[in-house]
């Protein structure tokens, strides 16, 4: 069963059984709700930003998610990867993860950049699971974009306001 083991690597199953940063917390700057209409997987995700030497950084990502092992584990890894990074760095990781998902098994991913997210490489060979792996990441991107927009409109006030 080696092919399926490349999909369900131990790291993924670990994150599935013990998801990191799970739960919805305050304060937050934006909240989104994303759904995969094919299977009903869903995630509610909040982003809290902070200032890191003049540029925005990710203070916290909290979430509540219902879905398959891939979507749950992916949300957990996402939170691990972006919390504490600047938004700029986190968006870079996000882009690299998206590219990995779209690589159809042909990629040579950057382990330093992606960390545990590299474990999802096998997903790229199973088209039906790509949206599962991306669910949390797309939700985070959306929430962060909304949080940044709110900061712009309110002239720097980013404190516990729900955006969606």
């Amino acid at each position: 069963m080696t092919q399926i083991e490349s999909l369900y690597q131990e790291i993924i199953l670990d994150h599935y059984r013990n998801p990191h940063h799970k739960g919805l917390r305050e304060p937050f700057d934006a909240q989104v709700h994303h759904v995969n209409p094919l299977c009903g997987d869903e995630v509610t995700l909040r982003v809290a930003l902070k200032d890191a030497g003049g540029e925005p950084a990710v203070a916290d990502v909290s979430y509540d998610a219902l879905g398959c092992s891939i979507s749950q584990a992916s949300a957990s890894v996402l939170a691990d990867m972006v919390i504490g990074k600047t938004v700029r760095e986190a968006m870079g990781i996000n882009g690299a993860f998206l590219a990995l998902m779209q690589s159809q098994g042909q990629a040579e991913p950057d382990e330093d950049l992606l960390g545990d997210a590299i474990a999802f490489e096998g997903v790229s060979k199973y088209p039906a699971r790509i949206k599962c792996a991306l669910l949390g990441w797309m939700a985070w991107k959306d929430a962060t974009a909304q949080a940044l927009a709110a900061v712009d409109t309110d002239g720097g006030d980013a404190d516990g306001k729900e955006q969606s």
């Binding site: 069963m1 399926i4 059984r17 299977c39 009903g40 398959c68 199973y126």
Partner: protein, 421 residues
């Protein structure tokens, strides 16, 4: 005579396939789409190789042959479902299109002249569906109500997956214009009491549409016996090709209904500022229709008829009687829908504690077993049952007990893989 499933399987070339690096295919997703026997594939190839031309308007021998194939398919359908005559059979691309055809007729009726006016739906009118419907028998009605100001109401579902008929007389009233319901549920397998509901509907002057996508392939269906006004089904779920479906409707309704799609072939005369329309069924068949697909559908009807629809239904009942207890024995598996093989078809949906349907289906896929995971285009039903998503296995005439055994073993394997047992 015992049902020779091994011989039947030889008619389906795809069933020989191996998948995922050497696993024999166990195809348990027929409710999604059915596999096709050689006879259907050959009928379509032969049409293109020997008889291809456009129909009705071609004035040469090939045109005659193509027209005979197409209109011959219509006759075959009429006979298959007990229609009074073939003019009551409208070809569509699938059943979703057929249901939309009816929904649009009911809103367009308001602006389509005298004959259609009695069909018009407006504020104060009600459309009644059920909570177990496929999205294709929900969304068109939502859109109809949006267009017209009518109100959408629905039958609930009991905990064991049957229609809740306790409010029958309160739901279907003089305000009801149409009741639309599944003959057989694609998730629960439940066979609904369409006849009973049609009787109530007619008492109050309402029309009835049956979604027979999951019943026509699996059991003999007679539109006169059911007493419905409209019935839809689709070729690809009954061993036929994709791209062709059927809407059957009573003749006088088709005569009163305004056209759905306008274009060539559905006209009688055309001027620049107005047109008149062909009589049914052609009034509802605009443009070039799926001709080769009709030939394929006719071959599928022939195949199912020759195999014997009662025999197919009995074979599936046997499988169901075997599978339901075997699945119920799995610790941590929750069956959705009726647990007994009574008024119940072979769509079997279930939850496995601690293992998401996507993961169950992934493990099964690795073992060569094809099932479906998600909400199976019945999201409201899943919400009603308190289930986020489910795994669905579905059987057909080519399904074997060995495949059921493989399914059971595969589920247990998934439980071990994810460490829930």
């Amino acid at each position: 005579m015992t049902f020779d499933v091994a011989r039947i399987r030889k008619d389906f070339p795809i069933l020989e396939r191996q998948v995922r690096g050497g696993q024999p295919l166990a195809y348990l997703d027929s409710a999604n789409t059915s596999q096709k026997p050689r006879q259907v594939i050959d009928a379509m190839s032969e049409f293109y190789e020997r008889h291809n031309a456009n129909i009705h308007r071609a004035s040469h021998q090939l045109g005659e042959e193509a027209t005979a194939a197409y209109e011959g398919a219509r006759l075959a359908v009429a006979s298959f479902i007990g229609a009074r005559d073939a003019t009551e059979v409208v070809f569509t691309k699938n059943i979703s299109e057929g249901i939309n055809l009816v929904a649009y007729a009911l809103s367009n009726a308001a602006t389509a002249g005298q004959d259609a006016a009695r069909l018009a739906v407006g504020p104060g009118d009600e459309i009644v569906i059920t909570e177990m419907e496929h999205h294709s028998n929900i969304v068109p009605w939502q859109l109809l109500c949006q267009r017209t100001g009518a109100t959408l109401r629905w039958f609930g579902v009991t905990d064991d997956g049957r229609l809740d008929l306790s409010q029958l007389d309160e739901l279907i009233t003089e305000r009801t214009k149409l009741v639309a319901l599944a003959h057989q549920s694609n998730v629960l397998g439940t066979v609904n009491p369409v006849k009973l509901i049609a009787e109530r509907a007619h008492q109050v002057g309402a029309l009835v549409l049956a979604d027979a996508a999951q019943s026509v392939p699996h059991q003999p269906v007679d539109v006169q016996d059911l007493g419905v006004d409209f019935l839809g089904f689709t070729g690809h779920k009954m061993c036929g090709p994709t791209g062709i479906g059927v809407l059957w409707a009573r003749r006088e309704l088709l005569e009163a209904m305004p056209p759905f799609l306008g274009g060539g072939e559905m006209i009688e005369t055309v001027w620049m500022d107005h047109s008149t329309f062909a009589p049914p069924p052609h009034k509802f068949e605009a443009g070039t229709m799926p001709i080769a697909e009709a030939a394929g559908l006719a071959a599928a009807i022939g195949y199912l008829t020759e195999t014997g629809r009662e025999a197919i239904a009995a074979h599936e009942h046997d499988l169901l009687a075997y599978a339901l207890p075997a699945l119920a024995e799995i610790d941590g598996l929750r069956l959705l829908g009726p647990a007994e093989p009574v008024d119940r078809g072979t769509a079997i949906s279930f939850e496995v504690d601690g293992v998401h349907p996507h993961d169950v289906s992934q493990v099964l896929d690795e073992l060569g077993i094809a099932v479906r995971a998600g909400h199976h285009c019945a999201w409201p039903l899943h919400r009603r049952l308190g289930v986020q998503a489910s795994t669905r296995a579905s059987f057909y005439l080519y399904t074997t007990r060995d495949e059921v055994d493989a399914l059971v073993a595969g589920i247990r394997h998934a439980q071990r893989f994810f460490g829930t047992v």
